[in-house]
């Protein structure tokens, strides 16, 4: 975006930071002030390609390359008529042919190939499929309005929740103030020991606070568990999945029982004298000598009861 420049007056973004490039159907951009100057009457011709343009058709350029802008524009226009869905076709290949045709038309229009011919094709299509086009337009319109409705509902729910939080907060504040007042009253008028009174108040306070349940708010005001509502549309809730539970792996030894971790030999005083102590560097990496010992001992007993007789005589050959 650095070298955005109006092709007519050569104003750049650098010289005029508020420079806004506008683009019309022909795909050539102009800056805002040039548009105002050239299209005072509401219509005029493009300074580059002399195509007659309307001022009301100018839009802010979204893409750096005006050609992309032009293609997006044309695509939008073409797709307004070519709005069939896959359900409208009997087979996938028919639908693909249809899509291919659309792409052809768009390509032709963008690159100015057989524009007249292409426009005639569009007109013909429109005439032939008037009813289908209208029906699909209505369908799409309905879908969009449904989407809007959903967004609206989400927003309302959000507002409602925010309101509730606010109310709860105010309530809590009031309660705290009341409690404080009660404490002061008690201190002023009661005969009991001041210290014990303060303590008993503190405990009731604590009970009340915890009774309110988990905090619904971080101190920053971000709601805990908010994601919940964002995906209310139907995504599975992750929280409902059962929690992961560690189960120690079952080791098949096929041999006598090996001494366990907790027992004396590996890592115990009796073994330690037989092995080199791990160095500081090794412990830093999480290495413990006892683990190596245990592994050696486990491997020593594993398979000690192996017997070839158990095997069936017909052995699997390695896959060739």
């Amino acid at each position: 975006m650095e070298d955005q420049v109006c092709p007519r007056c050569r104003t750049t973004k650098y010289r005029n930071p508020s420079l806004k490039l506008l683009v019309n159907v022909c795909g050539h951009s102009l800056c805002e002030s040039c548009v105002e100057l050239l299209f005072l009457k509401g219509s005029g011709s493009c300074p580059e390609c002399q195509i007659p343009l309307r001022r009301s058709n100018f839009r802010v350029q979204l893409f750096e390359d005006p050609a992309v802008e032009k293609e997006v524009d044309i695509r939008k226009k073409v797709l307004r008529d070519y709005n069939k869905k896959q359900e409208d076709f009997s087979s996938l290949s028919a639908y693909n042919d249809y899509l291919e045709e659309i792409e052809d038309i768009i390509y032709n229009l963008v690159n100015g190939i057989d524009v007249l011919e292409t426009n005639r094709r569009i007109e013909q299509y429109k005439r032939e499929n008037r009813e289908a086009i209208l029906k699909n337009r209505v369908k799409i319109g309905r879908f969009e309005s449904e989407l809007d409705e959903m967004l609206e509902m989400e927003k309302a729910a959000e507002d409602k929740r925010r309101e509730e939080v606010k109310r709860e907060e105010a309530e809590a504040k009031r309660k705290r103030a009341r409690a404080k007042e009660a404490l002061i009253d008690e201190l002023m008028f009661s005969e009991g020991n001041a210290k014990s009174i303060v303590e008993s108040f503190a405990t009731t306070q604590a009970v009340e606070e915890s009774g309110r349940g988990e905090a619904a708010d971080f101190s920053t005001g971000i709601r805990i568990g908010k994601t919940h509502d964002y995906y209310a549309g139907g995504a599975p809730l992750e929280e409902l999945a059962p929690l992961y539970k560690y189960e120690p792996p079952e080791i098949e030894t096929d041999g006598p029982r090996a001494p366990e971790w907790a027992e004396a030999p590996p890592g115990g005083p009796a073994t330690v004298e037989h092995i080199r102590k791990e160095t500081d560097e090794e412990t830093a990496g999480g290495f413990r000598m006892a683990e190596a010992c245990l592994r050696a001992i486990r491997e020593a007993v594993a398979g000690l009861y192996y017997s070839s007789k158990e095997k069936s005589s017909q052995l699997q050959q390695p896959q060739q």
């Binding site: 080791i251 098949e252 030894t253 096929d254 041999g255 006598p256 029982r257 001494p259 004396a264 030999p265 009796a270 073994t271 037989h274 092995i275 010992c293 592994r295 050696a296 001992i297 486990r298 491997e299 020593a300 007993v301 594993a302 398979g303 000690l304 009861y305 192996y306 017997s307 070839s308 007789k309 095997k311 005589s313 052995l315 699997q316 050959q317 390695p318 896959q319 060739q320």
Partner: protein, 286 residues
């Protein structure tokens, strides 16, 4: 762990007879396939299964020498793994199909990788006599073939870690005074077992135990009470006899070991040159 390994599932065999059957089948397979493709003179000198075994023994010895003289010095698990690969490969393949001298170096190279003994191919071929560039090419070409033939089951459970475990346990739980002095005897037996089929018939921990007991008896020590009372403890009654039998058999493996005489090997090699599969010969024109 061994009990859940592919080694146990696919590469442990019932007995000697099963191994012999497999090897005979591999030999026969090659003979059948190439009977009509080889010239008359070559057909006459085709090796039979016994002669193949004879040659393999010779190359296993060569492999051991290569590993021992390897620089930088090679950790023992690498050697063990290389032997496993070599044996597995020739269970289902004939010597005439793939020349052992090529498979041998490939096994060692692959074992270096699998056992995390980091040597580059250049470093590796520096240990090999002859044309180094060609050797490197042969190794890299054969690597995939080797892996395919052993079913990509690369993890090998060697008896070395079980040995450490047993020694540690013996130091802690038996009344043997100086367990370290057993090491010499243990290594000697393990080395000799590499030249046998023991690794395809018995689990690594059984081999480890056999090696320890072998070494103990050589050192006039007695570990019987450790095995029966401490190690097996409650299981002793049902399992002891099987285990003793396994240990006895493993120890008997290394008794009948003979180095093949040079002149016989020479003659076999000459015949091999004639009848080998030329498609797998890097020097041939085919």
């Amino acid at each position: 762990m061994f009990p859940s390994s592919t080694q146990k599932r696919h590469w442990m065999f019932r007995d000697d007879a099963e191994l012999t059957n497999l090897r005979n089948a591999a030999n026969k397979n090659y003979v059948e396939k190439f009977k009509d493709l080889l010239s008359d003179s070559a057909r006459e000198v085709m090796l039979n299964a016994d002669e193949e075994r004879f040659l393999l023994r010779h190359y296993e010895l060569q492999m051991r020498d290569l590993c021992r003289k390897f620089s930088p010095p090679m950790p023992r698990p690498v050697i063990g793994t290389a032997f496993h690969y070599f044996k597995r490969f020739y269970l289902n393949n004939s010597v005439m199909d793939y020349h052992p001298k090529e498979i041998l170096v490939t096994c060692v190279y692959l074992a270096c990788k699998v056992e995390e003994f980091n040597v580059s191919i250049i470093q590796f071929v520096a240990n090999i006599k002859g044309d180094r560039e060609k050797a490197a090419e042969i190794i890299l070409n054969n690597e995939l073939l080797l892996m395919e033939q052993i079913g990509y089951q690369l993890t090998i459970h060697n008896p070395f870690r079980p040995i450490e475990g047993f020694l540690l346990d013996i130091k802690v739980r038996s009344n043997l005074k100086n367990a370290e002095k057993l090491r010499g005897g243990i290594e000697e037996l393990l080395d000799r077992l590499f030249l046998t089929d023991a690794y395809l018939l018995y689990s690594p921990s059984q081999i480890a135990l056999a090696a320890i007991l072998h070494s103990a008896s050589k050192n006039q020590e007695n570990l019987d009470s450790y095995v029966t009372q401490t190690l097996l403890a409650s299981d002793a009654r049902d399992k002891l006899s099987d285990l003793i039998e396994a240990v006895r058999k493993i120890r008997s493996f290394c008794k009948n070991m003979d180095t093949p005489p040079r002149d016989v090997v020479k003659q076999l090699e000459k015949r091999l040159e004639l009848c080998r599969n030329e498609e797998n010969n890097p020097d041939s024109q085919v």
